[in-house]
Amino acid sequence: MALNENIKFDGKLDGVIETSGAAVQEKRAVIGSAVTIIVLALAVALPFLVQGFVVFQLTMVMVYAIAIMGLNILTGFNGQFSLGHSAFFAIGAYTAAILMDKFGVSYVWTLPLAGIIAFGAGFLFGLPALRLEPIYLALATFALAVATPQFLKLTPLEHWTGGVQGIVIIKPDAPFGLPLSQDQWLYLFTLAVGFLLYIAARNIITSRTGRAIQAIRDNPIAARAMGVNLRLYKTLTFGVSAFYTGVAGALAAIVVQFVAPDSYTLVLAVAFLVGMVIGGVGWLPGSLLGGAFILFVPNIAEEFSKGLSGAVYGVILLLIIYIAPSGAGGLLLKTVEYFGKWRK
């Protein structure tokens, strides 16, 4: 295929950005940083401007955003489909809960530990998954999602998991006697963790490793021909993806103060998927929008009509998808293109 005719417009934004020259890229980087700083400043100010419950909700939006970032790394950048991320979320949540409840570990340390255990689970799951074609991988992850709540309810494990009732956790106070409410502190804590994870993900994606990961998504045969170790990268990506979602799960456990098997069903896995698509597959900042969508829209739907809340949710979802078939990220790309044409 001739070189300049081979440009993809299917929602994968990175390819298009890389075809621009260095000067344009630098300009984009400066604009990007400016936007990030503004958003960050607003984010830090928010918990002091709104009420306690809204702060809690906003914290959960960020938690979901981190989980969706994890899914995006696997599906958006590596092309592996997962309907089972609720499982890694649950692993992270229960790890944190058990560590805090049974071993008195401080909530801060539960995050990396939950992440590492989730990483292991993801890595181990990724190994046999290598042999499965996409549709079968979807089925396997689906089985994982369906199995998770049942697994958590198993009687032999009740001593650890608390069975059907789950585990209750004590909400931490702000450290060093800072004049912050618990909600405000957890919000800022989550914001910090989320931002760090976002930067880390950005760095991975733009590194050599990231390019290898994306090469596997775009053309696995060519990637292999160029020496990319498919097995290693695919399973590692699974692990990293699970790490992110596991950390999110741990944060969720702390913020909600509670873990129970029925919080981690297939519905959650589907929600992550929807959130990723709404935000833009392969566009990390979109994860925040995705998180906001899956937290707020079901509530909005229920206010519209109790009996038909599912239908309202579905209709809202459809309308947003029609306006932005490639998610918020795709919409942004189209707007940038449009204004680019205008200026010519």
Binding site: V146, V281, A311, I321
Partner: protein, 292 residues
């Protein structure tokens, strides 16, 4: 040993249900190369329509074909109105649209007809076909209808021009356009057929599992597992896969101690995954080789 035999036989009987759904899924996949899990909800909704028609006094053998026709039209309409706007969007967007369809249809069914279980009549009567309660008339009827549909669809796709055009449109829409096939309408036709097949499956299954908005989800999953196990390109494999899934489900439930009723589904699925790791294109699927 007796327990084993009983489990296997009742597994086969259940398997007939899954086989029916698996067949629908494979046929749909042949037509439109997509796996739409909202199809189960559409089948459920169609079954409710049949039920409603009978509540209004229509006899079964009038409601049955009318429901099939209405389902066909419904499928075409949904494709033209809901799916066409995103026809060029990436796969994941399609998945999300299917999810949206799922929630809409499920919610509407619950709203219109509520969530209480309703009995659904069987047209085959209740006399047993095989002695000792091994095979009831309805189960025999289910198997017969499934096989008839299988044959009809096979003939359609293999020997008719429209069937060939549909397969081409699903496999390679760009090339199909180049030979003059109106791909959009082929897809709409495919959806109509899928919807019609689904309605038949729903009306056959409802007498056994009772009619309620959530009746199709688990069955759809088992059916999907059966279709995948058999190899998505093989209708015969779909039927075989469905039956095997039924048997495995029963055996796993009885013989694996940890497995209670809740874990039956994931265990069955995971066993199927194990098969696929060994034989990636399913039991009877064709290994499709592509020149790079």
């Amino acid at each position: 040993m007796e327990l084993f035999l009983q489990l296997v036989l009742s597994g086969i009987a259940n398997g007939a249900i899954y086989a029916c759904v698996a067949l629908a899924i494979v046929m749909i996949y042949q037509a439109i190369h997509h796996l739409n899990f909202a199809q189960g909800e559409m089948a459920m909704f169609s079954t409710f329509i049949a039920w409603q028609l009978m509540q209004w006094g229509m006899p079964f053998w009038a409601a049955f074909p009318l429901t099939i026709i209405l389902s066909f039209i419904g499928g075409v309409v949904i494709e033209r109105v809901v799916i066409k706007p995103i026809e060029n969007a990436p796969v994941l967007t399609h998945v999300v649209v299917f999810i949206a369809l799922f929630t809409i249809i499920n919610s509407m069914a619950g709203f219109i007809w509520d969530f209480t279980i309703k009995p659904f009549p069987t047209p085959f009567g209740t006399a047993p076909v095989l002695g000792g309660g091994l095979l009831s008339a309805h189960q025999a009827g289910m198997i017969a209808v499934t096989l008839i549909m299988l044959v009809m669809l096979f003939v359609f796709f293999r020997y008719t021009s429209t069937g060939l055009a549909m397969r081409a449109a699903a496999a390679n829409p760009a090339s199909a356009r180049l030979v003059g096939i109106r791909v959009g309408w082929m897809t709409a036709l495919g959806w109509g057929m899928a919807s019609a097949i689904g309605s038949v499956a729903g009306m056959l299954i409802a007498p056994v599992v009772f009619l309620e908005p959530n009746m199709m989800l688990t069955i759809l999953l088992y059916g999907f597992a059966g279709a995948v196990l058999g190899g998505l390109t093989s209708p015969g494999g779909a039927v075989l896969g469905g039956v095997i899934v039924g048997i495995v489900e029963n055996l796993a439930g009885a013989y694996i101690p940890v497995v209670g009723a809740e874990l039956k589904l994931p265990i069955a699925l995971l066993l199927i995954i194990a098969v696929l790791v060994v034989k990636p294109s399913g039991l009877m699927g064709r290994r499709t080789v592509q020149r790079v």
